[in-house]
């Protein structure tokens, strides 16, 4: 397959480059478009207010990376796809350092990249590993590439993107795969406001509570050693409530 690969941890990130290398060794043609910086938390943000500098860089992993200065993952997907004349079969965003689970996927630029793929009419997959210092990155990349061949490549669609999270475990110990909903939990922000004359200085400290996660959610299963998959929709409309809302508004 022709794969556009991106992520939000910067072009030197081990997760991005390990996956590029492994996908290439599995016979895929991989085009890597990355942000120059850490663009975590930028969700689906798209840079429409100014131009972006782009450079091709050679990496120690043996493949080139197109680096977009100060860009977001959504930028990488839109620009990368155009650069490849839209001749790609799939967009993958990852492998991200740290999980993309719970309510925080709303801000996730890894998930944002996969979702932007749907908007340009290509299937998208977001892949993350449940550790900020993963010990099993290479094995997980191999596992994902194998599962891509056996499973995911057969169910590619532009109706929804897949958000896949792997435990940082050796594949032999991983207990299986769960298709689940996302937990309502996530980062908590401790915010302090300090008023100084005509402005306020705000200090924000994010803390991620070590919790079990509500039963049958991504958080819950991932912690128990399962691979979790959550379908991310291509539309913002909540069709479930359309009729209810019509009645409430009387129209």
């Amino acid at each position: 397959m022709k794969i556009l690969l991106t992520n939000d941890d910067g072009y030197k990130a081990e997760g991005l480059n390990t996956l590029a290398k492994v996908l290439r060794s599995h016979g895929h043609e991989v085009f890597v478009f990355s942000t120059s910086r850490d663009a975590s938390g930028y969700g689906n943000a798209l840079t429409i207010t100014h131009k972006l500098r782009m450079k091709q860089k050679q990496t120690k992993w043996g493949h080139p990376v197109f680096v977009l200065e100060q860009a977001t993952t959504a930028d990488c997907v839109v620009i990368g796809a155009q650069f490849c004349n839209r001749d790609i079969d799939l967009v993958i965003s990852g492998i991200n350092y740290g999980p993309n689970i719970g309510k925080d996927i709303n801000h996730s630029a890894t998930v944002g990249g996969a979702r932007e793929a749907l908007m340009i009419g290509k299937p998208g997959i977001a892949v993350s590993i449940n550790s900020f210092k993963p010990k099993h990155m290479y094995e997980i990349a191999e596992l994902f590439a194998t599962e891509l061949e056996h499973t995911y490549s057969h169910i590619l669609t532009t109706q929804y993107a897949l958000n896949i999270n792997y435990p940082d475990w050796t594949p032999k110990r991983i207990r299986g795969t769960k298709v689940t909903t996302a937990s309502k939990l996530g980062w908590e922000n401790q915010i302090i406001f300090r008023t100084i004359k005509n402005y306020i200085e705000v200090s924000i400290k994010g803390v991620r509570p070590r919790l079990e996660g509500e039963p049958d959610t991504d958080w819950y299963w991932l912690r128990k050693g399962w691979v979790t998959i959550t379908p991310i929709g291509a539309t913002d409309v909540d069709y479930t409530y359309l009729e209810e809302l019509r009645q409430l508004l009387g129209c």
Binding site: K51, H154, I155, I229
Partner: protein, 251 residues
């Protein structure tokens, strides 16, 4: 009720202040946290910085808090600064219709509120240079008191688009799904001595929209209201995806 107002066009927006005046006249208490700069297209981006500056400006009777960050940052900080009953993001100059809501910071801000279980509305005008701002604000404030407040829930946020028409010419309200059309994201590449430059330029073709969608009705003089999911997950697909993946097990 106490209403947090934000937008993505920046704190200087006239529409933001007009709405504050309207809401106050209708007996509400607006609190304004808006971005210090234009952050259009930034979707649900959250600036994860340890410190953020908020400038305090006075505009008539109102205090405006100008946050050096995104719309989502404004909602996160505004709702922590004071307790609010409702968040309104907008009125945006230009529509948020069809598939564009995925990158929309107007909708992104409203979604952030919803994630914190605060009811929210994204409000936009189908013109970049609205001529009937005053009328639109008046009609919106009346709609809010007459029905919208009843329809607000923790289950979805409301994406509302107004045609740029005088009050008398507005034809009614339609609760509808979204068009599949939207911005065309054109990317141009330039090469100079220092490398390549990519530029994402949105262009909005004058589309009519598929019959029965938001784009269609707003072009026909109706106010459109769409229930928008408060997270990114397509819950209807979870079971289906489970079954699809079952088929590939053991192969």
């Amino acid at each position: 009720m106490r209403i947090l107002q934000t937008n993505d066009d920046g704190y200087k927006s006239r529409a933001l202040l007009e709405l504050a005046v309207g809401l106050k006249r209708h007996g509400h208490e607006p609190v304004i946290f808006a971005p210090a700069n234009n952050v259009s297209g930034q979707g649900s981006a959250l600036t994860i910085q340890p410190t953020v500056k908020i400038d305090i400006h006075k505009r008539g009777d109102f205090t405006i808090y100008a946050v050096h960050g995104t719309t989502t940052d404004c909602v996160l900080l505004g709702t922590r600064y004071t307790d609010v009953d409702l968040v309104i993001s907008g009125p945006n100059y230009g529509p948020n219709l069809g598939k564009d809501t995925l990158n929309s910071a107007t909708v992104g801000g409203a979604r952030e509120a919803q994630m914190m279980n605060i009811p929210s509305i994204a409000l936009s005008i189908n013109s970049y240079y609205p001529r009937h701002l005053q009328d639109i604000v008046d009609v919106f404030c009346s709609m809010l008191d007459d029905g919208i407040l009843r329809a607000l829930s923790g289950k979805y946020l409301l994406n509302i688009n107004f045609p740029d028409l005088p009050a008398n010419d507005l034809r009614g309200v339609k609760v509808v799904g979204m068009s599949k059309k939207g911005w065309i994201k054109n990317v141009t590449f330039e090469t100079n001595k220092r490398g390549m430059i990519a530029h994402i330029k949105g262009s909005r073709p004058r589309l009519d929209g598929e019959r029965g969608t938001d784009l269609y009705w707003v072009n026909h003089g109706y106010i459109t209201v769409t229930p928008v999911i408060s997270d990114l997950i397509d819950y209807n697909l979870i079971h289906e995806l489970q079954q699809i993946l079952e088929c590939y097990k053991g192969e």
